[in-house]
């Protein structure tokens, strides 16, 4: 019974500020909502909003596809990058504290309006991503590099992908703060006995990474994966979110709610799939 006592405060709040609004927004999504001074009038019309959002809205499905695609290719890059940086920052070297402080800095900035302005200003002055570094030296550095490595001509899609990654290095680095912290915490939990055993057996750094580090951090790969996916889906800057806010400011509450709910279902399905797939590859020490 004491359990209820501890959670009662939260329970009241959740019913008031989460469950009721959530239910209301679900209800709105099935309704024609009109705003009168002092009240909201709802008129039930079934699945109409959903159909019109999916088939008639000129932007919604396109944006939805964009966001899914972007999440799909950015998430693995963020994970690989943050794991790599965490492994590096876990080593002993001079200036490590400073390096850590710099790499965690995005954590305190990247969620706010400052980041939006940073991004926006860089676009408006032509300083974004790889271009920004290229214009500094007034050449297309990424292109030159690929030419130099001889991979420019191989295939358009490969070189497009590489320049997309280079263009987005800013976004990737700036969205990896929390992930780096979590991975670093996981790395510090690897028992020293495992490291010593690997050294005795003469494991190379490469083998050590795949045989020791990777299994130990694998539960965190799942946690980070889910965190990254949620972060990317709920980012107020992504185009679906902007579309929903735009609909809302036009007082199209019914359609806005329908959009939000479709989006929410897609997110849940995506996260469910990820968890189901990843759980088969994860090593849990206690099992």
């Amino acid at each position: 019974m004491y359990g209820y006592g501890f959670i009662s405060l939260w329970l009241i709040g959740t019913v008031l500020f989460f469950l009721i609004p959530l239910g209301k927004s679900l209800w709105y999504s099935f309704c024609n909502v009109s705003v009168d001074p002092g009240s909201l009038n709802t008129e039930f019309k079934g699945m109409d909003n959903y159909f019109s959002v999916l088939s008639e809205d000129p932007y919604y499905t396109e944006y939805l596809g964009d966001v899914l695609l972007e999440t799909l290719w950015k998430t693995p890059l963020i994970l690989i990058f943050s794991l790599f940086i965490a492994v590096v920052l876990n080593q002993k070297f001079r200036g490590r504290t400073l390096a850590r402080a710099i790499f965690f800095l995005p954590v305190i900035i990247a969620t706010g309006p400052v980041f939006r302005i940073i991004n926006g200003d860089m676009d408006s002055t032509g300083n974004a991503g790889a271009e920004q570094f290229s214009t500094m030296f007034s050449t297309d550095l990424v292109g030159e590099l690929m030419q130099f490595l001889g991979i420019y001509g191989i295939s358009d899609s490969v070189s497009n992908f590489i320049s997309a990654v280079a263009d987005n290095i800013f976004g990737i680095v700036w969205n990896s703060g929390i992930q780096i912290i979590l991975f670093l915490a996981a790395l510090q939990n690897i028992p020293s006995s495992a490291r010593e055993a690997a050294q005795m057996e003469g494991a190379t750094a490469w083998e050590y990474f795949w045989k020791i580090t990777f299994p130990y951090v694998s539960p965190f790969i799942l946690a980070n994966l889910i965190f990254t996916v949620i972060d990317s889906f709920t980012n107020p800057m992504n185009s679906v979110m902007n579309r929903i806010s735009a609909m809302r400011s036009q007082f199209d509450f019914g359609e806005a709610s329908a959009m939000a709910w479709i989006y929410f279902v897609v997110v849940i399905i995506a996260i469910g799939l990820i968890t189901a797939v990843m759980n088969r590859f994860i090593y849990y020490e206690n099992n």
Partner: protein, 343 residues
């Protein structure tokens, strides 16, 4: 001189033991390791030499990507507006000035806004940390009917984007009360932030409950058992025994909470129409500038020229959290490891 060279060297321990010269010992040792091991050792020695260099290059390069906007901010905020369109000015301004900063402070009503924001943020964060800790403890230690289902609701809170519920929440606060009995308009009052925070439903509360649940699960049960034996009830045990032990986690979560509240502009822009917070002022900086600086809402400033003020505004609005970060960096980064999100 000859005496010195002829004088018997002090022998190393193994030489004394085996009566071998040092060179022979080295040769023996080398013969005892297989070719495979030798190549391993050679590679390891090479990697040990080359890796620090690569590491430095990678860290400095990526560190620059992270620091770039900050350096750019500082560079822009202290330069004259004319320098923005001067093509020879990239990083180092030609005309230094504090005027832009002063104008931005004016336009943002900075000190008052800062006071408002600090009061709201720290208050909400404090309240929310405690309400989330209590809830997390309840989920971590007590089994009750429906606890799994209710924890599912917590997970939902993490997953549902605030945009989904913001509109009904707005009407909830606009007509707060019991239907047809009484209702108050809470819009624009700090209560729109405090009430959810008090009941563990503020910004990212789901995540915080989750963190605290993990943390309290990881704490040894003996602590509570000892308190129970001494005759403490569960609530007193929580306040007197568990909370003091959780102080490091509390501090870390509190700091993150301050940052999240600081950076929030979606929730606050929904509920506040004239309450000033730093994040809101920054998003409206364009208009405020036009009103305060030029006394003319229709004036057009070219986007390039606006950058100086925008960057100054950015600098001003992250300065407080940045200062907090510099001094409390250890708690941000090491606290997470201790706060038990790990296990």
């Amino acid at each position: 001189m000859a005496d010195v060279t002829n004088a018997p060297k002090i022998k190393k321990a193994d030489e004394i033991g085996n009566g071998m010269s040092s060179r022979e010992a080295k040769r023996r040792r080398r013969a005892s390791v297989s070719a495979e091991d030798r190549s391993y050792l050679r590679r390891k020695a090479l990697a040990d030499k080359v890796w620090p260099f690569f590491r430095a290059v990678i860290l400095i390069g990526l560190g620059f990507v992270i620091m770039y906007p900050l350096i750019y901010m500082i560079s822009c905020a202290f330069r004259d507006r004319a320098d923005m369109s001067d093509p020879t000015v990239m990083w180092i301004p030609r005309h230094y000035t504090f005027q832009v900063i002063a104008e931005t402070i004016d336009a943002m009503d900075y000190w008052k806004t800062l006071g408002n924001t600090l009061l709201l943020n720290i208050g909400c964060s404090l309240v929310q940390v405690f309400s989330c800790a209590i809830t997390g403890y309840g989920f971590a230690r007590f089994k009750f009917k429906g606890s799994k289902l209710l924890f599912g609701v917590v997970i939902m809170m993490i997953l549902v984007p605030p945009q989904v519920i913001s509109l009904p929440l707005y009407t909830q606060f606009r007509y707060f009360g019991i239907r047809e009995l009484f209702s108050i308009n809470l819009i624009d009052s700090g209560l729109t932030m405090y009430l959810p925070a008090m009941t563990a439903n503020g910004i990212r509360a789901g995540l915080m409950i989750y963190i605290f649940r993990q943390f309290f699960k990881g704490m040894p049960r003996e602590l509570e058992d000892a308190a129970y034996i001494d005759g403490c009830g569960p609530f007193r045990t929580f306040v007197r025994v568990m909370l003091p032990n959780a102080s490091a986690a509390l501090l870390t979560v509190f700091l993150f909470s301050v940052v999240w509240y600081w950076n929030d502009y979606y929730v606050s822009s929904t509920f506040f129409t004239d309450t000033k917070t730093i994040a809101l002022m920054l998003t409206n900086l364009d208009n405020e500038l036009k009103m305060n600086l030029f006394d003319d809402p229709t004036v057009q400033i070219s986007p390039r020229d606006q950058i100086v003020w925008k960057e100054a505004g950015c600098l001003l609005s992250i300065a407080p959290v940045l200062i907090m970060y510099v001094f409390l960096q250890k708690h941000f980064t090491e606290g997470i490891e201790r706060s038990g999100i790990v296990g």
